[in-house]
Symmetry: C2
Subunit: 322 residues, 2 copies
Amino acid sequence: MKAAIIKDKNTPISIEQIADPGSSSGEVVLDVNYAGLNHRDVWISKGQYAGIQYPMVVGSDLTGTYLGKKVIVNPAFNWGSKSGYPSSQFEILGLPRYGSLAEKVKVPISSIHPLPDFLTPEEGAALPLAGLTAYRALVSRGQAVAGEKLLITGIGGGVALFVMQFALAIGMEVYVSSSDDHKIQRAISLGAKAGINYRNEDWEKEFIKNFGGIDLVVDGAAGDGFSKLVKICNPGARIVVYGGTGGVISQLIPQQIFWKQISILGSTMGSEEDFKNMMNLVLKHQIHPVIDQVFPFSEIQEAFRRMSDGKQFGKIIMEIAS
Amino acid sequence: MKAAIIKDKNTPISIEQIADPGSSSGEVVLDVNYAGLNHRDVWISKGQYAGIQYPMVVGSDLTGTYLGKKVIVNPAFNWGSKSGYPSSQFEILGLPRYGSLAEKVKVPISSIHPLPDFLTPEEGAALPLAGLTAYRALVSRGQAVAGEKLLITGIGGGVALFVMQFALAIGMEVYVSSSDDHKIQRAISLGAKAGINYRNEDWEKEFIKNFGGIDLVVDGAAGDGFSKLVKICNPGARIVVYGGTGGVISQLIPQQIFWKQISILGSTMGSEEDFKNMMNLVLKHQIHPVIDQVFPFSEIQEAFRRMSDGKQFGKIIMEIAS
């Protein structure tokens, strides 16, 4: 089969011929139609995870065909029995197990879900990992409530956009931030109430002046800007952190955290229950994932570059074999 | 009546004759027998709270006499209807309202509770504010569970010691930290499993080597050492922050927070429900507060100095009129 191979750290991804996956007990081999990219794939290609063995086939998201039916896959395997955190056997499709950027992929039979009728196969490949991460961050950890005010930082990324779509479906008042005014305008056209460019110095003062305090923040950046998120929080607010692209957090004032009874909640991926609940929300509200661009499989390097540059608004999808 | 008066910021507290409090609707005047000190009182004397009007009578804790019966007072008034955070009318006895370091104090009638039979009046004056803060931090926010491993930082302070006593009653495995080995030994004699001196460089590595990871931390310091608390956390752990004597938090690594699904939870004071639940726990397990020293009222300056120096192990109590 053809597969997108990362031969070593920091070498360009390339499409090569490799052996088909073999069968094993409890696992099945799917034909991949579309695969979705995640930042995770780019970071693995740069060696930014522990214990990577090259060569590696990355990719956590797909729409595939199994016994003639279109299916999607929950890429988070073996979460285990505790809702609060994953077991030591937890893994994500695409590391260490070969992933979805290939013509065939082997997955546990229990991870397969039918592609909902109202989604295209491209949309199906956009949903699983980012949708799962967004759902756990917003609902399971963030305890999102209709009518509350939500700020989503870094709008445009896959997780951030699903957080927005899910929050609007739940009935929240959604605010977004970005360094790109164009992305803010697109989010507003999709239903966000307003947005703010975090490159403005003192954006947090401007935010409070214009929009008041915030009840829930979903943040994928952390970094130096994080302490400003605490400042715009209302009493009892929660800040869910699902990523750290901005680096270490500094200058957090503890008095702001305890006087306002703030909760800072780490979240990543999600459990089987999170996945089922996410699918139910998507079905109930007929939520269509936002797709940035569909690339032919041969343009995998261009697709990786687009994700690496952070230019996308929505999910980047590869057409493997439709 | 005699009252301990702070005449201005950074002037020594002194005992003076002032007018008795008058009566008003829904409020009653108690005769104060014993009053307990809190760090809050020292900070108010140093001007470290917003909106202090001098002269001021501080003090949040007391055992008093009302209609011939011994009573204690929940010093947290008007929490309001939300369990997650206090209302804008919330206040603590002893600022802006005159507090318990006086022969008489006026409080809402709804704040009065009978002194439990098994407690001495000195112990009753040690319990309310620190016990309430400890209960909310450990149970309401920290969701303490029997069998879990708990680390309490800065053992010896009033809140930290109540956290320890409540956690032992609940059935947790308790570890403590301090900069004072003598305080660690005293905590072990009261039931802590082990302790560690946080002045040791790399104490967190030593801790993990000797005791493994931690499920819950209750911390009153924050500051530079906070990031080490995240490092010793097990997956799914909670860190409750109720104070900030160590200053701003820096060098927090977001990946450690989200990969381990850590929760960092601000907590201070508590609701009426927290107070009732705290009293039930104290009654059920017949918990006697740890008292550092009982001073005569005339030695209020010495008592303030002892609290300011951080030498105490347990609560500092003033005998007003027994």
